[in-house]
Amino acid sequence: MVDFSNDTFWTYLIKAVLIIVFLLTSVLLAIWFERKVVARMQVRPGPNVHGPFGLLQSLADAMKLLLKEDITVKAADKFVYLIAPMIAVFCSLLTFAVIPFGPQVRIPFTDFTTPAQLTDFPVAVLYILACASVGVYGIILGGWASGSTYPLLGAVRSTAQVISYELAMGLSLVSVFIVVGSMSTGAIVDGQTDYWLILPLFPAFLIYVISMVGETNRLPFDLPEAEGELVSGYMTEYSSMKFAWFFLAEYINMINVSAVATTLFLGGWRAPFPISAINDGMFNEGWWPVLWFLVKMWLFMFLFVWIRGTLLRLRYDQFMRFGWKVLIPFALGWIVCVSVIRGLREFHDVNLQTVGVVIFGVALVVIVVLRFLPEKPPPAPAELPGSGADGVFDPFAAGYPVPPMPGQKLPPSPRAERRARAAIGAGAPSPTAPSSTTGKDDDDE
């Protein structure tokens, strides 16, 4: 646990204000960053007019949102319509209270040392999950209070999505708890002194990364605000400042999950390997760790943008099936593996190398056995549409044109045959054809 004995009411207050300032400026930067990176990926310049590199564009957008007319739709439930965006923003601001930016730091020009973290307690990671799950109320209430169909559908989708992906996320975090033996963020970062948890717990890291994209409603999982289907989902009837709050909450949530992933799997504020070995860990002390933390966090933000620039939106049923039938069973199986290994080491005095060798051996045997198993025969071609009775592909089976499936071959087109014949027949006498072609035709004949 981190030592907070020096902290007073004023240090807590200053840290809290600093965190809010950090989050708000990060959001402005993140919007600019996302637009710029996505633009680069799509080979266009992106915002580049206002300020150096277009940095002031998001500030201008924010001002525009503040100054626009605030519309409250007639069918809205006024009170809930008003508090929904507030709930979303408030809950997203809470998470950073337990995120460690660094170890004990000395305030410049004083002898006062304090942890670069607002607070920490034994159930800090659960607290993060709790904040996220209350934050969903903002979305669902906003969708309901708008009194219109698209927002309601978006809200329902969002709730189903966040509940199911939060399960997978929680399960992936359980393996971190088992390995470190604590749920406090400070203790988890301390537990990664020797190696970062991404190495032993890579499957859990994968599950976390997938479910964090689902949790923040980002592409390819942005079904609650799918433009092509739901206009913009739960935010459809919101405008001006209230819309800006939802927007703010979404971006703060992205920063939150990135920071949590950094803390739990990438060693938090610890310097990456070759740097951490320099001069007895000089770069793991003082203010340096804040830099490493921010670099790792922004790597995750880049990952978000990269995914957005690469993948298409999933269909809703595919998305739900993936969450419940792939992610959650996989996460459960992984937890069983981690607890078995942990239990063996705890109670039977087996060292890690033996466990590693056994796992490697079992994996090898499984691979070898799979290699010698007979392969599944390919599906019978008779089932494919377009295959005629004699096994020849019929491009007009059942009266409409069908493309050849893998394994089927398109017969030579009769039109191509006719064209070739016409070219040969009309080759020599054609007056319009260039002389070189006619000469070649003459040679062929």
Binding site: P122, L126, S133, L141, L152, V156, M183
Partner: protein
């Protein structure tokens, strides 16, 4: 009694909780009542954390507020969004009996609670010696491990029962996206989205059918609901259009021929080009 900070927190949170609980009783809309419960639950969690039980407090928010109440809200929103309770008395004297029972219960509770005296709590420091979750885990997984397993089995049984009761055996093959597309093609249905109403016609409205290239109205472009209700407005027919042009021509006689002339001009060079 508790320390100063805890007492201040209690006296701030408790009245709000009571107000929210009353809101649950008197709220007209089900969603508002649900919101009140959520507020009470979160305040309760705050009090748990203040009383050195952080695990209980946070888990209360994650499980009850985050999952259980969310599902409640889900169902309320989908099933009875605008349903309000009926105030008709179905059983005679029900309201009177209700008030009587309520008052009796209130009297008993007041009588008991005013006489209660709380002794100083003991054992908190030892229980939370190795942080609260670890202390809790030691008790749960040593003294109460059998009870925990039984509760786990009970919950899994309930989940399985829910699955079994709602499971429906599939009698026919599953109809997927591909099968539906195949059926569409075989049935000779339109493969593309239906034409939008009115956009290509003279007017731009929901209830006016679009016109095809021959100028005939396309029936399917108007919403089926409007057609069934008989709210469809007829497309401007040829006669109507002729009438319209005649009217235009009569009102603006001098501009008529001049407007027609440029229509001929672009056609003329095209014809000459073809002759070349």
């Amino acid at each position: 009694m508790a320390s100063g900070g805890e007492a201040i927190l209690f006296w701030c949170v408790a009245p709000l909780m009571v107000l929210a609980a009353l809101g649950l009783l008197f709220a007209r809309k089900a969603v508002h009542a649900t919101l009140c419960i959520v507020f009470v639950m979160i305040c309760l969690a705050v009090l748990y954390v203040a009383q050195e039980a952080p695990f209980l407090g946070i888990v209360q928010v994650v499980v009850y507020t985050g999952a259980v109440m969310m599902l409640f809200l889900f169902v309320i929103m989908l099933v009875g969004v605008d349903a309000s309770d009926s105030l008709v008395e179905t059983i005679k004297g029900q309201r009177f009996a209700g008030w009587l029972c309520g008052l009796g219960l209130g009297a008993i509770l007041v009588g008991v609670i005013t006489r209660v005296s709380f002794p100083e709590g003991v054992g908190l420091a030892t229980a939370n010696l190795e942080t609260n979750p670890v202390g809790l885990a030691r008790i749960l997984f040593s003294d109460f491990v059998f009870d925990l397993e039984v509760v786990g089995i009970l919950l899994i049984t309930a989940a399985l029962a829910a699955l079994t009761l709602t499971h429906k055996a599939r009698l026919t093959a599953r109809v997927g996206q591909k099968e539906m597309a195949d059926a569409r093609v075989l049935g000779g249905k339109s493969l593309v989205p239906l034409p939008a109403p009115g956009v290509y016609a003279q007017r731009n409205a929901m209830d006016v059918p679009a016109l095809d290239p021959h100028g005939q109205p396309i029936e399917a472009s108007v919403s089926r609901v409007l057609r069934v209700r008989g709210q469809e407005r007829g497309a401007p027919l040829e006669g109507e259009l002729n009438l319209l042009t005649e009217l235009k021509a009569s009102s603006q006689t001098p501009t008529g021929p001049e407007r027609a002339a440029p229509d001929v001009d672009p056609a003329a060079p095209a014809e000459t080009e073809e002759e070349h």
